[in-house]
Amino acid sequence: MNFDVFLGTLRERLSNPIRVAVLLGLALFPVPIALVDPRPNSSVSFFHPILAVALASGILGLDISSGVLALVFTRPIARRVYALSKWASVTATAAVLSVAQLAAVLLILRVRHGSFDGEALGPRLVERIVAAAGTSAVLLLLSALGSGLSDLAVWGLASVAAQTCRTIGFVNRDDFWIRFGDGLQFLMAPGWGMASGSLPAMSVPELLVAALVTAAALGLAVRVLERREITYAEVRV
């Protein structure tokens, strides 16, 4: 990993005021819910991979469309190192934000309502870290395939499609569509929901599948980037 790219990515991500505002809004979203609703599922089960999406969207695509990548790739840094350093940067930031959000919500639930079972804390923490890593990896892959914020568009469309499939399944009482929707959502945000519901123990097979999807997304992203030609034709000045 290249630490300069790691830090540079973090600074670049947090230099955009719109991105920072969205991140703050998403990070604080479950806090007022926890203040008024004592049920853990209302606040703790917030769709936290969205934090990783807000941080990772355009992670490579914006470098391609801005022309920055052409300069960086004339530097002595391997493409895979560049991609993985960027992924590590957004994953670490998303995981810290996500865990901080969880901590804030649990603290409120405990102090205000006394309604959270501390034994479920471990699986929740693991789930958030795995989901941050997995979602960032998927965004990295989608970003390597396109340019600009096309990864965000594809991710959003896939998530809407997943939700639509689940709705169709519930309405028609058709397990196939429910499972298909769940699977698609799992591919977009690997790991999310492993510790959901009424705070069950973590599903180890689900954890393994999430790790596998994350590794596959990272491997594919690196492969795509190493084979990708960089031209200024894609640059939008």
């Binding site: 955009n16 920055v68 960089i230 000045v237």
Partner: protein, 323 residues
């Protein structure tokens, strides 16, 4: 004085290209066809050709940003785009689209780090490079988003030089730059050449290419059209003017002198002529012969830049520009 390259000698030649061919998907004609050439270390090589000639594609292949279909490229003894080679390479892109959210100073420091230069010398190297490209200290601390075209050009040069390259790729380094900036680029290139840096210089401005280049690559329709050496041995066109009272005998004397010097009369009028001479020596012989023969010469001057002549001779339309 701060030097802009380490003193490790580069292997010769700096660039070797053999049989380079590159197609783009969906395009029937290849962008590059069987291009071969070598560039010795320390040489300034100009790259010119009409629109769509393949110059940008060639630069992309040499930088490892594009992948050729066939052929072989060696840059400083290694493959293009490899970390080992990129450690020795600097690049000024035509499109000056950088990390606009950064300050100029942070941007150049970031590229100093990416170039693998030691952290201990970062501050001094960055400040020295900015001094060299004459970017005001107040501008260095401003966000790149606020930079003018001229400042962006200086920033581009700074990021290319901060890694102390042994091979520099310049894509239109003087495009849109004021005369002061053009002179700066020329001074920088002269200094880099003196330090032994090999430079590949692509520019629309033929006079700039001619001023700084030792050799020129002409690309046309993806093929290498010519590799002329610029200097006293290159042909040029002379405009001659004499006092208009010599009548037909002067025209005859001009024809005889031109034939003796292997020159070609392109155009002749009552008191003027345009003559293409094969070299500076031939031009001097022609003028000497005319003066010795009693022709009242009042002016003998090149009518166009030497490179422009070569450019037209290589099939570019008259009045056209390299691109």
């Amino acid at each position: 004085m701060l030097r802009y390259t380490d003193s490790v000698p580069a292997p010769a030649p700096a660039i070797t290209v053999a049989g380079l061919t590159k197609h783009y998907t969906g395009k029937p004609v290849p962008a590059l066809r069987d291009v071969s050439f070598e560039v010795e270390s320390g040489v300034v090589l100009g790259l010119v050709g009409p629109n769509g000639a393949g110059k940008t594609t060639l630069l992309g292949c040499l930088l490892g940003l594009l992948f050729p279909d066939e052929g072989r490229i060696q840059i400083l003894g290694g493959g293009p785009g490899t970390p080992e080679v990129n450690r020795l390479v600097g690049y000024v892109p035509e499109r000056l689209s950088f990390d606009r959210w950064m300050t100029g100073q942070a941007f150049v420091a970031y590229h100093h780090a990416l170039a693998g230069r030691p952290r201990a010398t970062r501050q001094a190297d960055v400040a020295g490079t900015f001094d060299r490209v004459e970017l005001e200290p107040s501008a260095r601390r401003r966000r790149i988003a606020t930079y003018s075209r001229g400042m962006l050009q200086r920033l581009a040069l700074a990021q290319a030089l901060v890694g102390k390259p042994r091979l520099l790729f310049l894509d239109e380094p003087t495009s849109g730059v004021d005369p002061h900036g053009v002179l700066l680029v020329r001074r920088l290139l002269a200094g880099l050449k003196a330090d032994g840096v090999t430079i590949l210089f692509n520019s629309h401005q033929l006079d700039q290419v001619e001023r700084v280049s030792d050799r020129v690559l002409f690309l046309r329709e993806g093929q290498l059209a010519d590799v002329p050496v610029l200097g006293a041995d290159a042909p040029r066109t002379l405009a001659l003017r004499w006092l208009a009272d010599g009548g037909a005998s002067l025209a005859r004397q001009l024809a005889e002198a031109a034939a003796a010097c292997d020159a070609e009369i392109l155009e002749e009028a009552t008191a003027t002529a345009r003559v293409r001479v094969p070299s500076d020596a031939a031009a001097a012989r022609l003028v000497r012969a005319l003066v010795a023969g009693g022709v009242p010469i009042v002016e003998a001057a090149p009518v166009e830049a030497r490179l422009e002549s070569l450019f037209h001779a290589n099939g570019a339309p008259a009045g056209g520009r390299a691109a």
